[in-house]
Symmetry: C2
Subunit: 91 residues, 2 copies
Amino acid sequence: MDELKSLRDSLDRIDRSLIELIAERFRITGEVGQLKKRMNLPSTDRERERLQMERISALAEEYGLDPQIARSVLRLLIDEAVRNHNRIKEG
Amino acid sequence: MDELKSLRDSLDRIDRSLIELIAERFRITGEVGQLKKRMNLPSTDRERERLQMERISALAEEYGLDPQIARSVLRLLIDEAVRNHNRIKEG
């Protein structure tokens, strides 16, 4: 059971880093939202999203991760960022 | 537009780190799966999941991230890890 505990401690450390990175990502997309509002740009940029999805799939392959999982996580983060952009525009 | 480009470059760097961390997370949950198979433990541990969800919510608050987003990402990663554990057991 010590081995399980040690692996779970590693997972908990990774999860902290993930949360830290995701929080940082939303700080930056918040700045993107402010900028889009100032420049009167649309909240969604389908071409940029397409490139992000392609890039994330290539990165997943590079790191030996299932690209579908990588895309699902990115989809979740992008959708929330777009919702935030819309809130910024309306606010 | 230079400012938008610079912010997007930062997002791309963060996304690479995220993918690297998530890939590392699945390497570790793969080891957990092997261990659970050897020790004949169930693929799912509801109490551990409950603690992970509580912890991730607290971490999200600490880093100024919406806890709901943090839980959605963790849910996605845990569900896939459990599917992988089941595959390891059957394999």
